[in-house]
Symmetry: C2
Subunit: 310 residues, 2 copies
Amino acid sequence: MAGAVSSRSCQKIRGAQIRELLDSKQSVLFDCDGVIWNGEKAVAGATDVVRLLKKRGKNVFFVTNNCTRPREKYVQKFSRLGFADVAQEDIFSSAYCSALYLRDVVKVRGKVFAIGGDGVHSELRDACVSFVEGDADDSGMSIVDCPLEPDVKAVLVGYDDRLTFLKLAKACCYLQNAECHFLATDPDPWHPLRQGRVTPGSGSLTAALETATGRKATVIGKPSRFMFECIASQFGVDPARSLMVGDRLETDILFGANCGMETLLTLTGVSTLQEAQGYVDSDAPDKKDLVPDYVVDSIADLLPLLEEDE
Amino acid sequence: MAGAVSSRSCQKIRGAQIRELLDSKQSVLFDCDGVIWNGEKAVAGATDVVRLLKKRGKNVFFVTNNCTRPREKYVQKFSRLGFADVAQEDIFSSAYCSALYLRDVVKVRGKVFAIGGDGVHSELRDACVSFVEGDADDSGMSIVDCPLEPDVKAVLVGYDDRLTFLKLAKACCYLQNAECHFLATDPDPWHPLRQGRVTPGSGSLTAALETATGRKATVIGKPSRFMFECIASQFGVDPARSLMVGDRLETDILFGANCGMETLLTLTGVSTLQEAQGYVDSDAPDKKDLVPDYVVDSIADLLPLLEEDE
């Protein structure tokens, strides 16, 4: 591990360095948004990178904090954007892992009050975790008058573009019970959208509830280790032989560090080289885990090395 | 000031101590919710306390973080609950003071994007501050598609029980402009309601936007000094001869300390004697300002002293 830490140098790599790095890994974990695609457009070269990694016998996993889609929709999106043979089992979303956490770790008895969209609801349903949707037929009602479910034992907060005040207020009421678990799919504060617009992320909605309740949510998504534990338990991957590839220092790169993986920052998404360099220069010890081991402009930079022996 | 600090002892007072305290003050500032009333019910004795303080020539002001009502509605509520002669000029709400701040301190040129209810909108209107309401006719739209006003120069966040995701997302987009001011009416994290229910406060909604934008809001309400500055500029009150009476340690009592007033905690609202004692026992120096100078069970405890010479 000493070697891994000393190499965390935010090093722009190319050519032989990339070949050496890939040769040393058995598994590659990719974040999706900002790494594999942006919106409905695959990052140039990404389909070939994934195809050739698999052809070389690497395990390829997709680890996303985006909880808006169920995994079967991710499979469709991969296919639509030209990625061949990405299977549902290779995809670990924060919604899927939240459902696993509620089922297998919390072993929740009772219902989950779920703030979120189709991704959250579908994954809970697939995992046979009983839940109530935030947006029942009482919109327009005051929190004083609206019915509350008697059997809610957990609140799960994910990105929800249909969030209402009533959902927040209901979650507050459920969380007054100290035995009601409080989970967040992911801590992402915001997301870039088209045309320079931005949208609040799950982390933003969670912050509202943390402030209102004085409690801290258990975060399931990156940088928490749990998503890696899901992959490891299903596929037996070795962190020392795994590479985490992401675009966001505070989630992807920290996740890699937390799980003992080497990390590769790609500059096609949210974080910039300047931000990474800021963490290199920081005196705060806890910022060191936000420094990626390696940096590329795009995962397309891996392509020449992967194509070499084709 | 050394004397005032050493007296900050969370002391339960009665009888002659109350008389001495009241004799030493020219102005009494009351919080409303949990102090003067709870919901639609006046605290027992509160109407007489206010009447007798005024009869003795004290200035009585009402200083509330509750931004839901315009001041004229507060006048009506005081009247409805049996308080005689409470004038609009005596009421300083966080919505009113936010409007003053935008007009007189920020001197905002352009529009304010206002998250809040009737209180916020009416006070902005009365102060001739141009604003756009969060809930325009684009509910159901995505933040990518909905129109944004070109001239928004400030975002004001207050309690809004009609909050939607789109309002939060619009505020995020406006706040991407570093020159757009970011204000919160108050930092209250939550409020108690009837039947043991709770509701998220302005501070909770503000936390969502602070997380999403990476910015800190300027807080207008207690414990910020600005509301006292509004009173002082209009009435020339002397903090050393003023008493702040409130039920919430983190807002009312800290506000009193921040403004150089002595403070009286009343136990008819949110905070408990145990919580106050917790701050007395705390080693953190910044917690000392959360310790009230004096404590009563209810402001009705002032009544015997005020009735003495009637």
